[in-house]
Symmetry: C2
Subunit: 399 residues, 2 copies
């Protein structure tokens, strides 16, 4: 059997996992011949042959003996340059860089096509969960109606701890940072941006639609209050940061927002660092996938599976025809709102559905609500899906 030769960019959390697991498996059909790193002097807690360490990208990209480039660095723009050149130089490419894929997917697919190349990125969305593979193969002949995801382990850890320990948001974030679950610069995670990058990739593979991540309305978890956590408990729900997209009669709606999830729903069983994806398709019906969303080994497992794909001639087919839409349709939903009473006068909503001592439940579009937040108003805003409203109307907690 042919042994493929690979060049690896990056020896961080995922890169080191990939390197070590390939080393540990003597029969793996890909071997890593060169590694490009920023800092060759860095101490690593596992043995790496110094002779294969390089600092110039071209030492890998222009090496005709390498079949595959594995891109596992952080910076999405540098990563794009590497991946684009690798594809142009006729190399198979595997990456786990969600930000790069999200920001550059149109350009990447063009370059891939022009060069008849192979570009795989299972690890970019929800770590170990094989969702891109499934959308590309299993669901290729089905019609996906909605796709929803808990795609950010940091947010999920923080929300899980706020609920389980009764901690306020700030303390939960600090604990997450202490334990290494959250980065010191937590903006991309807690704002919803990271989930938005992943959702845009899921939209591409689910519906064949290119949408810019920045066009997806989002609200993060920084505004989730202890009162909201208590309210969740009162309606037998948990709060999760959920990215969701729906394709219906030629209209795409998509959003990222914290959401109340009922105790009987699959998403309520997604705790700590786990991720999940739910797909609703015409023939298959409702499907649910859960697994570890980040970390060295789980993400490595996705990268390894893509490397194996290359040796078996499996590549993405993009079965749904690609189209670009400039405007997402506005999604009107029900939201739990709390804050100063005066906030109500500033909010752009359709109607008040219910209200309690210290909250209102309003029907509104997220885009309209976000305008107020951008204007500097602070309030708590959490999506309250209709099924939860209905369940709690039956028990008398909500109207």
């Amino acid at each position: 059997m042919k042994k493929y030769k690979a060049g690896l960019f990056g020896l961080g959390v995922v890169g080191s996992g990939v390197y070590q697991s390939i080393k540990a498996d003597g029969e793996f059909p890909v071997s890593i011949k060169k590694i490009a790193v920023k800092n060759p002097q860095k101490q690593r807690n596992f043995p790496v042959d110094k002779d294969i360490i390089y600092t110039d990208a071209n030492d890998l990209l222009n090496d005709d003996t390498l079949d595959i480039i594995i891109e596992l660095i952080n910076d999405p723009h540098e990563a794009f340059e590497i991946v684009a050149k690798a594809l142009r130089n006729g190399k198979f490419v595997v990456t786990a860089n969600k930000k790069m894929i999200s920001l550059y997917h149109q350009e990447l697919l063009r370059i891939r096509k022009e060069n008849e190349g192979v570009l795989l990125y299972e690890g970019a969305v929800c770590g170990s969960i094989p969702i891109i593979r499934l959308l590309d193969q299993q669901f290729s002949s089905d019609e996906i109606r909605t796709i929803s995801t808990i795609a950010n382990g940091t947010c999920n850890y923080i929300l899980s701890q706020m609920s389980a320990q009764g901690w306020p948001y700030d303390k939960a974030l600090q604990e997450a940072q202490k334990l290494g679950f959250a980065e010191l610069d937590s903006y991309s995670d807690v704002s919803g941006e990271d989930t938005r990058f992943k959702l845009s990739i899921l939209i591409l593979h689910s519906f064949g639609i290119h949408v810019a991540a920045e066009d997806i309305p989002m609200i993060g978890i920084e505004q989730v209050s202890k009162e909201a956590i208590d309210f969740a408990k009162s309606i037998d729900a948990e709060i999760k940061l959920v990215g969701k997209a729906e394709w219906n009669k030629g209209k795409l709606t998509a959003s990222v927002a914290p959401e109340f999830v009922g105790a009987s729903e699959d998403f309520s069983q997604v705790h700590q660092e786990y991720n999940a994806v739910q797909v609703d398709a015409k023939y298959a019906g409702l499907q649910f996938f859960k697994g570890k969303g980040a970390g060295s080994w789980p993400t490595s497992s996705a990268v390894l599976s893509n490397l194996k794909d290359i040796t078996k001639d499996i590549c993405y087919q993009f079965p749904k025809s690609a189209q670009t839409i400039s405007n997402l349709s506005s999604l009107v939903d029900t939201y739990y709102i709390s804050g100063k009473e005066s906030i109500l006068n500033r909010l752009d909503f359709e109607k008040i559905v219910d209200q309690g001592k210290d909250y209102w439940i309003v029907k509104a579009s997220l885009t309209a609500l976000l305008k107020t937040i951008k204007e500097g108003a602070t309030f708590t805003c959490i999506r309250l899906p209709e099924n939860i409203l209905k369940i709690n109307a039956n028990t008398g907690v909500l109207v």
Copy 2:
């Protein structure tokens, strides 16, 4: 794009779903040119062109213009003859016949290899859940430790209703039969046999091991009593029929048995006709997949995805080297037992771990317990995993 021509065997629940969904999708790359049925006079509630209906298998199998044979009949032995001849005649084959795959997999893989053929059967295990695809691709470079499944919708429906409605087993079974969820001959479903067929296929793809389904110890749900359902509620658990297999240091253990599943576990969210699979792998960690396990459209979705695979040159690679083992290792576990007091004297168990007013919790091997059942003894026997024992020891319900 080449349009593949297919011959379809069987126009029952799944066959009619496949036929109709291909008809409805004008762009599907496979068209059905001939259909073989037992009874061509049968009234069907959808239009079928009479000219393409045949009763002689050879009209399809010997037709050189057909690229693909889709086998969707019930009888596993007839199905095997069809599939074997189709492979020998150089046709691609898609089937959803778990019993046929389980009974004949060694022979089928041999014929497939000799004829360099393609044989796909995603629909044979857990309907719409793409587990064979994932084991063959995503997990091909990972090391699976355990695989567990709720694979029989009928059992799951009966157990769900016994718990939700307080019905005894007999009534729940009758209701399931009335609604068409259970067949009039329910033996294969409720005895665990159906789950055992599926588990043997999962074992083949997870560990590369051929094991005869009949060698897997099993106990069904007929013996689940109302008292056991009540006991489940007292320990915040539900009873599910679970097939599970573990590969550890060269030893394979496997079994099918009703099991107490704690309220916080993923399997507890699998209700009614849903199926689920849990995989624990070295790198990916714990993964959970849930979807509809049977029915016309969900199983059709799996068949359609396999047809699309054929047009994209995707076939099973069987990445784990195949070996046959003659003996499964004996699995010692903890079981909840209830019945006449005298049963204890007849049971072959290691020790009593706990006991209540009307039950005992014993450590035993399922194989040893089954001997007593084969000798005609009747008692209730449900696996009680250690994690549930531990949780309930903390709350004082169990020691």
